[in-house]
């Protein structure tokens, strides 16, 4: 029952839910959590394949992904605090400072 097939189906489902969240939501926190969900789905795939091929490299890569997402969390959240102080909203559609001129900030 618990074959590589079912584990990978769960990972694919979680990854697709993450894509749907990134595309369809406008709240920046939920977009961020959907990104983290996609990273976790990839982690699950790495761990499942590591078990399947009897090699520990997949688990090492998923540790690297966890460290990377910790670094990403620190940067992303400080950036969100900065943007929320300037713009006063959590809508991702108004976070377009890179597409505007300097005096529009």
């Amino acid at each position: 029952m618990m074959s590589i097939y079912s584990v990978l189906i769960v990972a694919i489902a979680l990854f697709s839910i993450g894509i749907v969240g990134v595309i369809s939501r406008k709240n920046i926190f939920i977009v961020y959590m959907s990104l983290e969900l996609m990273l976790n789905a990839v982690n699950l795939m790495f761990v499942a394949f590591s078990r399947y091929f009897h090699s520990l490299d997949g688990q090492i890569i998923s540790m690297m992904v966890i460290a990377l997402s910790a670094a990403e969390a620190a940067l992303f959240l400080s950036l969100v605090v900065l943007l929320y102080k300037r713009k006063g909203s959590l809508n991702v559609d108004i976070f377009n400072s890179l597409a505007q001129k300097r005096d529009n900030l």
Binding site: M2, I4, I17, V20, N27, R51, S78, V81, S89
Partner: protein, 164 residues
């Protein structure tokens, strides 16, 4: 028994992930995401990755999501500054249609894998073997990750300064 635990854990992971994407308030969404992360930690334990199980609980559910909850509470968002999403359901259905072909291709590709026994092995994925693999074959990526963490720390401090 393992199958039952697997089904419960995957169902709770998928359902709480759906609720996380669906719900309007970010704090309820973050709490629901913790349920997803803990169920994924259980799945890692079922796949005999005991160290990843611990790291998932301590780093993800313990540090990252706690930091996220702290930031959400720190910003003290009132109901007006949440973005209004009247067409949320429509966008979700459209994006689900968009990712459906990708899912079909992936499921078809996964179905061609040969079957193997996936039951729990006791010695696979222990801290000792993982550490030996990490420091024998993956030393350079390990050091690069430490540099990455320091860079992101400096970046967060620079962002948090009053004037940039």
């Amino acid at each position: 028994m393992t199958d039952l635990i697997f089904i419960i854990l995957s169902l709770s992971a998928i359902l709480s992930a759906l609720y996380m994407v669906w719900v309007r308030e970010p704090i309820i969404s973050a709490l629901s995401f913790i349920v997803t992360l803990l169920s994924l930690a259980g799945l890692f334990a079922l796949l005999s990755a005991s160290f990843i199980f611990l790291v998932q609980i301590i780093v993800y559910a313990g540090a990252i999501i706690t930091l996220l909850l702290l930031i959400i509470m720190f910003l003290n968002i009132d109901d007006e500054s949440l973005p209004k999403e009247p067409k949320k359901l429509l966008y979700m259905v459209l994006s689900a249609i968009l990712v459906a072909p990708l899912d079909m291709a992936l499921i078809k590709a996964v179905g061609t894998l040969p079957k193997k026994d996936m039951s729990i092995i006791s010695n696979f994925g222990s801290v000792k073997s993982l550490g030996l693999t990490l420091f024998n074959g993956w030393l350079l990526p390990f050091e690069l990750v430490s540099i990455l963490l320091i860079v992101s720390l400096i970046g967060a401090i620079v962002f948090a300064k009053r004037k940039i």
